[in-house]
């Protein structure tokens, strides 16, 4: 059951990604990305990251993408678009580079079971997170480490956000 959902969502995510890259219309690209993000949220649920799934939709789909949409509309790129996909040489380069990258990743992760096995010694074993979620709940599981072990980084991100807000306002308000 879960596998079926996983493959379905994976197909949607990949389809969304391909759609995003190939769409001429920025709004179309954005909507395809939203599709990918939503599919990823679904995969997060399958991977026992319920809280992240919700946050993924709230933050990514609900806030960041709306911000993008807002900007696209603010720039009023209208309904007629210049095709902005680069020509032959760039395409070849793109295919080559991404192919190379894909190759490396495939080589690195290609082993599947063995690879996970190679990584696993570090870990608490499969199902560790699920147990954690069972014990505390979906939010509590992630809240614990975040507000205990990673409190300083958490506070630093708030400073980062504040800086980003100030920076964004300054940039957007001034003519350069």
């Amino acid at each position: 059951m879960a596998e079926v959902f996983f493959y379905l969502l994976a197909a949607l995510a990949i389809g969304g990604g391909v759609g995003m890259v190939t769409r001429k219309n920025p709004v179309g690209s954005l909507l395809f990305l939203v599709l990918t993000l939503a599919s990823l949220a679904g995969i997060f649920v399958l991977l026992d990251a319920h809280f992240l799934a919700a946050i993924q939709v709230v933050v990514y789909a609900g806030a960041i993408m709306v911000l993008f949409l807002f900007v696209i509309m603010l720039l009023n790129l209208g309904h007629d678009y210049q095709p902005d996909i680069r020509g032959g040489l760039w395409m070849v380069m793109g295919f080559a580079l991404s192919g190379l990258l894909g190759g490396i990743l495939a080589q690195r992760f290609g082993g599947g079971g063995e690879l996970t096995g190679a990584l696993l010694p570090v870990a608490g074993g499969p199902g560790a997170v699920r147990a954690l979620v069972e014990e505390h709940n979906a939010v509590g599981a992630i809240a614990g480490p975040m507000f205990r072990d990673y409190l300083v980084p958490f506070e630093v991100t708030s400073v980062l956000l504040l800086v980003a807000i100030v920076g964004a306002i300054v940039l957007a308000k001034r003519r350069i």
Binding site: I43, S98, T116, P126, P153, L161, A164
Partner: protein, 98 residues
């Protein structure tokens, strides 16, 4: 569960994002592609966190925060550039040659 598949999916999405960054000229779409790359990495984190521990998810949370900040600043930059050049085509952002 689904670790290998998740990692492969993460790789595929990352490659798509990379390809998009390379072949698109529209700055906003390049941004979107970067978001996709970030998400691909997030997926890898989440997938691995099943085995490695909840810290992976915490890291994803931080990635999202950074992504939000990056989006805000990046979009502000695009707006500022658009005001100046009246375009979002990255090939025409030749600051030195304007």
């Amino acid at each position: 569960m689904m670790l290998a598949e998740s990692l492969v999916l993460s790789a595929i999405l990352f490659v798509i994002g990379t390809f998009g960054v390379l072949v698109r000229r529209n700055a906003i779409i390049i941004f979107l592609c970067i978001e996709l790359q970030l998400n691909a990495v997030n997926l890898a984190f989440v997938a691995l966190s099943q085995y490695v521990g909840i810290e992976g998810q915490v890291f994803v949370f931080f990635v999202m925060t950074v992504a939000a900040a990056e989006a805000a600043v990046g979009l502000a930059l695009i707006i500022a550039i658009f005001r100046h050049y009246e375009t979002v085509n990255v090939d025409q952002f030749n600051l030195l040659r304007s």
